[in-house]
């Protein structure tokens, strides 16, 4: 029997506001435990939340970028449950009237592009962290994260494979970082997701019973967890049993999902409108200002790179895939006229180095200015492409300025034609056998002479001049 998979994602993106969703507490990551906590974050008796408009503006940016409806009047609800790292005993979230509804995003899959619809994106506060391994027999609570604004982005159950789920997550990550609303740092938990997975017989209209996989924070684990879960559900059904609606935890070490709690054990969250917060109203003026401040988005960039700059589609795709790549490209292009060459190097040599070191471009020593200058030194014939590679490698190591590297290592291309002629004559003179063979028809040997000249000049000769000179000498 063949099975179809139905997947929906709930992505939690931490919004990069300075202060928390309902307090003036700082959202900075990595501070000492319980130092970024104010009265409101602690949930002390008598404190009251005040909504942070900045978080709304960021949520709205996401809404506008996904063509969604923006609810200019949105409200907060309380989700009630007990947990030590939830200071108030409830989480303030947007249940009935989220800020963003009905958007969509284009995702690249193996079968081409696919539109995934976004049901809603709502604001809510993050909980703190329970620390189980620091104190013997006791649990610590760190409330630094408590109250950090999250945008929960809920997709329609329209994703049909683990790979597609990852592609969707990547598309969302790309978007939120382009919009400058989330740093996208998955290792620090800035983006994490819950995955709803169910299977059904091919062609069936009705959805199967779903399991929810909680809190996964890497592309690799999303793919593995979903694939494990699909296989598990198929196994369950093919054994004549049925899938139970439940929450499951993915164990990355064992690569399996385990039941956390079933539907029966699930909390009744007793949602109700938060009486401490009035509905938040976004004026037409605010909305327009946000609209006007939206940056160019990946898709628009890709189109512009192709139609205006004339890049290859494959180049445009890679460069517009992340904000940092696009920034590198656009920054470097301001330093040189040959933007196509910038693209060629970025997609070629630079990407190769990135892959080798497995880093993002903003983690490297290469700055857009330095990169642009490097390309400019190729186009103004200061250095050859070959030399440029070694300069790039030097920048990669030290981050030094292109001109400093060229100067201190004496890499300036030899422009003196008479000097090149002298060297070429010497090479020709000391290789009579090869000259004879070349003149006898072995034209491939031309490369040999060029190579020898380059070797003699330590690569500093302008290859074009060398070609011309050698042709003249060899006739």
């Amino acid at each position: 029997m063949s099975w179809e998979t139905v997947i929906g994602l709930e992505i939690h993106a931490q919004l990069s506001t300075k202060s928390k969703l309902f307090s003036g507490g700082s959202t900075e990551f990595g501070a000492e435990s319980n130092t970024h906590v104010d009265l409101v974050d602690m949930g002390l008796p008598g404190v009251l939340p005040v909504a942070n408009k900045e978080a709304f503006y960021k949520a709205i940016r996401f809404g506008l970028a996904t063509g969604a409806e923006i609810n200019q009047v949105s409200s907060f609800d309380r989700k009630n449950y007990f947990y030590p790292d939830l200071p108030k005993g409830y989480q303030i979230t947007q249940m009935t009237k989220p800020i963003v509804e009905k958007g969509s995003i284009k995702v690249s899959t193996d079968n081409g592009e696919k539109i995934i619809n976004i049901t809603r994106a709502h604001l809510e506060e993050d909980a703190g962290k329970s620390i189980h391994d620091l104190f013997e027999g006791e649990t610590g609570v760190d409330l630094n994260r408590a109250g950090t604004p999250l945008l929960e982005i809920v997709s329609e159950p329209e994703i049909s494979s683990a790979k597609e789920a990852v592609a969707y997550f990547k598309a969302v990550k790309q978007l939120v970082t382009f919009l400058d609303i989330c740093d996208g740092n998955m290792a620090q938990g800035s983006m994490r997701c819950d995955v709803n997975v169910s299977i059904k017989k091919s062609g069936d209209k009705e959805l199967g019973t779903r399991a929810e996989l909680k809190n996964i924070n890497s592309f690799k684990f999303i793919e593995k967890a979903i694939n494990y879960e699909i296989e598990r559900q198929i196994r369950v059904i093919e054994n004549g049993e049925s899938v139970v609606q439940e929450t499951r935890l993915y164990d990355s070490e064992k690569n399996e999902t385990r039941s956390m709690r079933s539907k029966e054990e699930a909390n009744d969250y007793r949602y109700f409108p938060c009486p401490d917060l009035l509905p938040v109203v976004i004026s037409d003026k605010e909305l327009k200002e946000i609209k006007d401040s939206l940056p160019e988005l990946p898709e628009q960039k890709e189109h512009r790179y192709i139609s205006e700059i004339g890049l290859e589609e494959s180049e445009a795709k890679i460069i517009s895939s992340s904000k940092t790549m696009a920034n590198m490209f656009e920054g470097a292009s301001r330093k040189t006229d040959d933007t196509k060459l910038v693209a060629k190097w970025l997609v070629g040599d630079v990407s190769a180095l990135l892959n080798k070191d497995n880093i993002e471009i903003d983690e490297s020593n290469l700055s857009p200015e330095n990169f642009g200058k490097l390309i400019e030194r190729i186009t103004d014939n200061t250095i050859s492409g070959k030399i440029a590679k070694s300069v790039l490698e030097e920048i990669w190591k030290s981050g030094s300025d292109v001109d400093n590297i060229i100067e201190s290592k004496g890499l300036v291309q030899i422009q003196d034609e008479s000097l090149l002629e002298e060297i070429a004559n010497k090479i020709v003179g000391s290789n009579p056998n090869q000259v004879e063979a070349y003149k006898g028809g072995k034209e491939k040997l031309f490369g040999f002479f060029v190579g020898q000249v380059m070797k003699e000049t330590q690569g500093k000769a302008n290859p074009k001049s060398v070609n011309e000179i050698l042709k003249k000498i060899l006739g």
Partner: protein, 470 residues
């Protein structure tokens, strides 16, 4: 006297503590603030302040957070809680150089109408040792009625300022919802809670209200409206002003003597030139059931933070997390609080939300609409504040519904967010009783005006348990 230097601020404050000791049987205070109060009085003696309330000793309900001073909310679960910050109301009063004498006893988490639910024991009514002072601001009412302090702060979620004011023979006002910041008030039912002053006279309440009200950025439900000088219109003539008398109010359960007191007050107003107008509030009878859905629902969530994890009392030696929660809350909360958490959790449960909470919110809007219509014809609405004078301790303990009906006349003002006041208007068997004046949205000045004019013609507000005070 203070301003003429006949007596120093310090002497006044020392006298207050002497009176507290002398009246310790009233059990009106939970925590005293003696050392810092005397110091503040001395400071004021050395550097006189030009604030009109400078040096006035004020008793603060133990529901307001006071920085560095224990705040219990009448509960065992907070019996060790010392807040690191002060409520805006407290700051406002202290910035006006009032002296916070101590924290007054109250029904646990403001849930009760008799002060019998406090972990720190019953408060006694100075009008009779077996009598309840009303609640939940019973300690504040008792302390003012006994003449210990001239003023106290209270909070009112369903009548918690007005009902004890009525039962103790003093004046108390609950302002429009949002007039006074809720920052630092330990929440009972957030959409209903409102703080206000309690004192002997309307005039004193007006002065206190001037200091207590403020727009506060820390409370988004705090109103960004101009705050008038509440003393300004106190003496305005009532000639031709209209008093709404609710014709669908069921007064049949009231004792004749209570009705008579009420009717006498209305006659007094007629003699002051006011006109009585029959009005209809058709949904008024739904106030109590509506309130007992909305308030418990909000409290069930508001009180979730008392879990023994971060502050307050924690149960000893729980075997796991669940037991920590269960034991802490079982030991820490009293019966009435538990009852309301249970009701509240029930009405918010999946499957019951629409039938109870949502329905109650709809009824609440109808009640508000009734008032809107009524106030298109009248300046104020008057009712008795309570169904009778103070009752004996223990007399209603076994039947919570009887206790809930204590708030029959007061609850609707909270549901509609309107300002309302109680002032003494008579005596039954030598026990005081109060008149309630409800005003339109933001019309505190109007009800203060009506109240003050009444007090210029009557002296019920000057009666103390010892007799008429000069």
């Amino acid at each position: 006297m203070i301003s003429e230097k006949e007596i120093s601020n310090k002497e006044v404050v020392q006298e207050v503590y002497r009176l507290i000791n002398e009246n310790s049987h009233l059990n009106a205070f939970v925590t005293l603030n003696e050392e810092s109060s005397i110091k503040k009085a001395q400071d004021l003696d050395n550097n006189p302040s030009d604030c009109s309330l400078a040096g006035i000793p004020i008793a603060q309900k133990d529901l307001f957070c006071t920085k560095g001073l224990r705040t219990t909310c009448g509960s065992k679960i907070l019996d060790n809680f010392v807040p690191p910050y002060s409520a805006t109301v407290i700051e406002n009063l202290e910035n006006a150089d009032c002296i916070s004498i101590g924290k007054t006893n109250m029904d646990e988490f403001a849930m009760g109408s008799s002060n019998e639910t406090s972990y720190f024991g019953n408060v006694h009514n100075p009008w009779g040792d077996k009598l309840v002072p009303g609640g939940s601001s019973g300690g504040s009412a008792s302390a003012v009625a006994a003449g210990i302090v001239p003023a106290a702060s209270g909070t009112d979620t369903g009548g918690s300022i007005r009902q004890p004011a009525s039962l103790c023979g003093i004046t108390g006002i609950k302002p429009t919802y949002g007039r006074v910041s809720r920052w630092g008030m330990i929440a009972f039912a957030s959409s209903l809670d409102q703080a206000g002053p309690m004192a002997r006279t309307v005039e004193d309440c007006a002065m206190l209200l001037n200091e207590m009200c403020s727009h506060d950025n820390k409370d988004t439900t705090s109103l960004d409206e101009d705050i008038p000088n509440f003393e300004e219109n106190l003496n305005q003539s009532l000639n031709g002003r209209k008093i709404g008398v609710v014709k669908d109010l069921d007064l049949s359960s009231l004792d004749n003597s209570v009705l008579k007191v009420y009717e006498n007050s209305l006659k007094e107003y007629v003699s002051l030139g006011a006109e009585l107008v029959d009005i209809s509030l058709p949904n008024l009878s739904l106030s109590v059931p509506t309130y007992y859905v909305v308030a418990p629902a909000e409290c069930s969530s508001n009180l979730s933070r008392f879990d023994g994890v971060k502050f307050g009392r924690r149960s000893e030696n729980p075997k796991d997390l669940e037991e920590l929660y269960i034991q802490t809350r079982t030991e820490g909360f009293g019966d009435e609080v538990k009852r309301r958490i249970l009701i509240g959790s029930y009405v918010l449960s999946a499957g019951y939300y629409d039938a109870y909470y949502k329905k109650a919110q709809q009824v609440r809007r109808l009640i508000k609409k009734d008032f809107d219509e009524a106030f298109s014809n009248v300046d104020v609405i008057m009712t008795p504040t309570t169904r009778g004078p103070a009752f004996e301790m223990g007399s209603k303990g076994s039947d919570p519904i009887q206790m809930y009906l204590e708030d029959l006349f007061t609850i609707s003002a909270n549901l509609a967010g309107l300002p309302a006041m109680s002032l003494p208007n008579g005596s039954i068997d030598n026990k005081p009783i109060g008149l309630q004046i409800i005003g339109n949205f933001l019309k505190e000045s109007t009800i203060l005006n009506f109240g003050h004019m009444y007090q210029t013609k009557t002296n019920w507000h000057m009666y103390t348990p010892e007799g008429l005070k000069q």
